[in-house]
Amino acid sequence: MGSSHHSSEVMAYITTTLTMPVTGERIQPASDLELARAAAAGDSAAFEKLYEQHHRRVYSLCLRMLGNGTHAEDLTQEVFLQVYKKIGSFRGDSAFTTWLHRLTVNQVLMHFRRRGVKLEHTSEEGDFTNVVETPLQSTRRISMVDELALEKAISQLPPGYRTVFVLHDVEGYEHEEISSLLGVSIGTSKSQLHKGRMRLRELLTKR
């Protein structure tokens, strides 16, 4: 069965069973490409506009991967300096957000390497072996209003777990990409993710 056949049947299924709004994704933020070209040509206002549009995303990623606001600001600063230096190499083959995101992740990982942060936390192995005995209070709900607790718990994860968790569950990376970025096996990435999630569960239920 071909892909297009599948797609049409899925569309029919969706149309007949679900009521939904038509929503869309902006494929290529044209303004980003134009701004990047302008900034590369020496337009400082265009660069400032790029900063205005993207600094929250960059800072959020740094904050969640580092778990520290001050370090996250320092790294955000480094990221935008790198953007300035490299913006001439951005050709628009991918979305600017994708390019910037990769650049940010690489900066964070370089930061870890410079500081000798070990991503593999073998000492954390088996820390949650007793989850079965956790009473059913473990189902305590993480509600929308508890996002602060979730942020805090993420910041308390060991760097190895936190890096994989943030990349996979917050930023939507696949294990193959994480494995390539971190230079670890896919199995290690999966294992770190699972341990990270279980540790988060522990942290959230202990609140």
């Binding site: 071909g2 892909s3 599948h6 797609s7 899925v10 569309m11 299924y13 969706i14 069973t17 679900l18 939904m20 709004p21 038509v22 929503t23 869309g24 994704e25 902006r26 044209a30 303004s31 134009e34 302008a38 040509a41 020496g42 337009d43 400082s44 265009a46 400032e48 506009k49 900063y51 600094h55 929250r56 800072y59 969640r64 955000t76 600063q77 935008f80 300096l81 230096k85 072996t129 989850v131 079965v132 956790t134 473990s138 189902t139 709900r141 993480i142 996002e147 979730l150 942020e151 968790f165 569950d169 917050v170 999966k190 699972h194 999630r197 279980m198 988060l200 569960r201 959230l204 239920t205």
Partner: protein, 224 residues
């Protein structure tokens, strides 16, 4: 399968990354094991809310620091006038099946949560479909037997769907798994509300609808 084995595989299970045999074994175990279901629900919650974390903002002092560094790097850069006005192209929109399915499921979740929250905050509300449950609602409470029957039906359908999955293309598989995840997350929400208030008619109805939706989804995809 014992609980330890089950829990070691739960992350891959909720990510839809397990082989058919392992998945079926886990689902059978989950049907009979409340503690493992609780762990699964917690992990689903963590994954769900992690995807929705809002962006954070740095201090307003950051940009002056950056622009100061840039001024040192390239004297004159920040004093150049705009050479041309940046024009904005018309935004292009495109839709894919997974996006549409995701949007539909997300809307369903938002509506479900909105209804529950509204009801909690301001009493009975009118549901989008069907009569509004109220304090003296005649919605039949979900019995444990009803739930077990539904879960058994879902397990059987899941097995059938898993057998079909191998012939699916990646797009169809992604659409299915994402939609299934959203429904499971809705079920988790309902379970939590019913834990807090077992007689909540709205949550009972929403949970029943979510189960039915899951059955419809599985039945629908079983044909592909």
């Amino acid at each position: 399968m014992v609980c330890k084995q089950c829990q070691e595989l739960l992350s891959e299970y909720i990510d839809g990354a397990l082989e058919l045999g392992e998945q079926v074994n886990i689902e059978r175990h989950l049907c009979d094991c409340e503690p493992c279901r609780a762990v699964r629900d917690d992990l689903l919650q963590i994954v769900h809310f992690s995807q929705q974390l809002p962006m954070q903002a740095p201090s307003t002092a950051l940009w002056p620091r950056i622009s100061s560094d840039l001024a040192e790097l390239t004297p004159g850069f920040w004093s150049r006038p705009l050479r041309w006005l940046v024009s904005f192209r018309t935004l292009n929109f495109n839709f894919s099946v997974p996006q549409l399915v995701g949007a539909a499921a997300a809307l369903a979740i938002v509506i479900s949560i909105g209804v529950i929250v509204s009801r909690r905050d301001s009493g009975p509300v009118q549901l989008l479909a069907g009569p509004a449950p109220s304090a003296n609602s005649d919605v039949k409470p979900l019995s444990q037997t009803d739930l077990q029957q539904l879960e058994k039906q879902i397990t059987q359908l899941s097995v059938a769907v898993e057998q079909r999955k191998e012939s699916w293309d990646p797009e169809l598989r992604t659409a299915f798994e994402r939609n299934l995840l959203y429904i499971d997350q809705s079920l988790v929400e309902c379970r939590h509300h019913l834990n807090d208030n077992p007689s909540d008619g709205v949550s009972q109805e929403l949970m029943l609808n979510a189960y039915r939706e899951k059955v419809r989804l599985l039945e629908g995809f079983e044909k592909f």
